[in-house]
Symmetry: C2
Subunit: 344 residues, 2 copies
DNA sequence: ACTCTACCTGTAAGCGCATTCAGAAAGCGC
DNA sequence: GCGCTTTCTGAATGCGCTTACAGGTAGAGT
């Protein structure tokens, strides 16, 4: 923006026939100002449609209230749900949120952090897994460290361990283990897993947890039972298709993400298979839409909005001096119609 | 943020043993700077992890690159899809997006615009319908007008006519009419409509278009065939339930929004009715997930991401002097399995 | 060799605001 | 009614940066 005709505090002060300082004080209420003067200032401001210049305010020392949130893709329902919580808390605290989508491009992530740093955002929230890349991790640290040294807050949702910052983490491992137990309970013994990129901790944890749960019953998950694909609906679809092409032996398929499960379900339908009569299918996350699928998806329900809310709260609260806090939020297995008992 | 130890340009200049001006020029590349000096400056900046203070830059006149986007709810798939387009274009243009969710609170909307104005955002994007409220419209104008006079750009996606600004609009009316025709083609003659709040232009337009399409075949839509509800999944669910409770005579239900259609579909399933065998169901928008429903939803496909992209492009391009531009994007009827031919 | 013209570099003036500091006004006790 | 304290006001400073503007240096032209 560059239109010149901007009303400044000086204009207001002149119109109200007071000094700049008085106008500032009247507007901010930092100090007592004689009632009639304040009235005059407020009236003038109103009349001139004055809006303080946030940049000037920030520069002059007033802590400005903006936070940055970086995610992979706003349109992913998983993130959208988290973002909802983030937005609510931000709104309640009068914060402006600068939201950036990296579209899973590490470079963009770094670039955005740098921009947020330039904006002197009071906090930065990183949502979603990081990248398995040493160079990237270094670059990330190179942005984050000076930012924090400068007083910036950083919080993370479901993210790399490499960062030593406040974080909110869903209990992926425990949730997946619980899911495994529930599926075993239904009589399943042969499983297949649709996994996302193995580099992501989310994937690793859920996989490990699932294996753990199975192991308790002496059931093993072979590497060949795991198919890797992109963390998207299409990824789930293609992974499921590949699985089917090679001949599916499992009675139950676990997609590490609801979004992938959605794709998988469609792939199964397209292949003429019925869920759960022919195969049971389970997901993870409990994004809002999965209960409206037919059959409704069995999944591990994560408090997604709360994840966002807590993270934002961490980011707001001053943490200097504190050692990094970790908040773990449990998931809960929700059995719906996409899984059924295996006929004995 | 308020941590003092912030590296400033002056620090860099001192470290590089050049003047402040030279450092600035070297970093911004605005003017030729002797090669060795530039090297020194760049090295110093790098070494000190210098990040320019965007506020100071903005204040000093450098046009800063941030845009504001205001929507009702990030987690609504309709908006999420649009936001995706917005984010992409913003990212490609090096813009930082400040995103705000109003949660359909008119006051919040005004408050956010005011904040964006304070931030001197170079453009503001309003996504989604406005409110039918004279007081609100006045308040909105009171924020928008000075903002535009100050050189701010404003663009709108699918929104009130009351604002005379650049806008991108889906062809709701035409799309709904085309859908009506397609449904008539399938033999349907008795319809019911799940509408959102009648105050929203989106609802009004889609309703009008649908009526229009039906009228061409001499089919009328009685007021009693229209059920109003919130613009959400639950709204669709409850509207459908009410419709069923009162005894459904229609052979086809049109939900003015896919999100509502999703709720409706579940309500139908819960009532033991089969789609499309017992009732056909159609939506509008083509949000990504509806093709994965069972049955896949017939709907009017809107280029949602493109809506966001175009709007952002409008917002970026300087429009001063130009009269407000309106971009209309057509929808396309997509027949899927949720609608079927009526047995003769 | 000397002047003139390019080209850089550094000095300094704000951008709009919060805030410190000193001084004016007002209230109090005696 | 005078001096004191207590409020409140206004002038001035600086936040970090960009950008005229002026000064300096070096190369070109004659």
């Amino acid at each position: 923006m560059d239109g010149r005709p901007h009303v400044t505090l000086e204009d207001v002060a002149r119109a109200a026939e007071v000094s700049l300082a008085t106008a500032s004080r009247a507007l901010n209420g930092t100090t007592k100002v004689r009632a009639d003067l304040r009235e005059r200032v407020l009236a003038a401001a109103e009349q001139l449609a004055y809006t303080p210049n946030a940049h000037a305010q920030a520069l002059a020392g007033a802590s400005h209230r903006t936070v940055g949130v970086i995610c992979h893709d706003v349109s992913d329902p998983y993130f959208a749900a988290i973002a909802r919580g983030v937005m609510r808390v931000a709104g309640d605290n009068g914060l402006l949120v600068m939201l950036a989508s990296t579209f899973r491009d590490p470079q963009k992530e770094i670039a955005y952090i740098s921009m947020l740093r330039a904006q002197r955002a009071s906090a930065i929230l990183l949502v979603g897994s990081g990248f398995e890349d040493k160079a990237w991790e270094r670059a990330l640290a190179a942005e984050i460290d000076p930012y924090r040294r400068g007083g910036g807050q950083v919080a993370v949702v479901s993210r790399h361990r490499s960062l030593r910052v406040d974080s909110v983490q869903p209990e992926n491992r425990e949730g997946a283990a619980a899911l495994a137990r529930a599926l075993l309970e239904l009589g399943h013994r042969r499983f297949a897993v649709l996994a996302g990129p193995r580099a992501l901790t989310t994937v690793v944890d859920r996989l490990a947890g699932f294996r753990e749960g199975l192991a308790e019953a002496g059931v093993e998950l072979a590497e060949s039972d795991i198919v890797e694909a992109a963390f998207t609906r299409d990824g789930g679809h293609s992974a499921m298709s590949r699985l089917l092409a090679r001949g599916l032996e499992a009675t139950c398929v676990f997609a590490v993400t609801d979004v992938m499960a959605i794709g998988a379900m469609t792939a199964l339908r397209e292949a003429g298979l019925s869920v759960p009569a022919d195969v049971s299918l389970a997901g993870f996350d409990d994004i809002p839409v999965v209960r409206d699928l037919t059959p409704a998806l069995t999944t591990v329900a994560l408090p997604l909005e709360e994840l966002g809310e807590r993270a934002m709260e961490l980011a707001i609260r001053d943490s200097r001096g504190t050692r990094s806090r970790v908040l773990r939020l449990p998931g809960e297995v929700v059995l719906r119609q996409s899984t059924s008992r295996v006929p004995a």
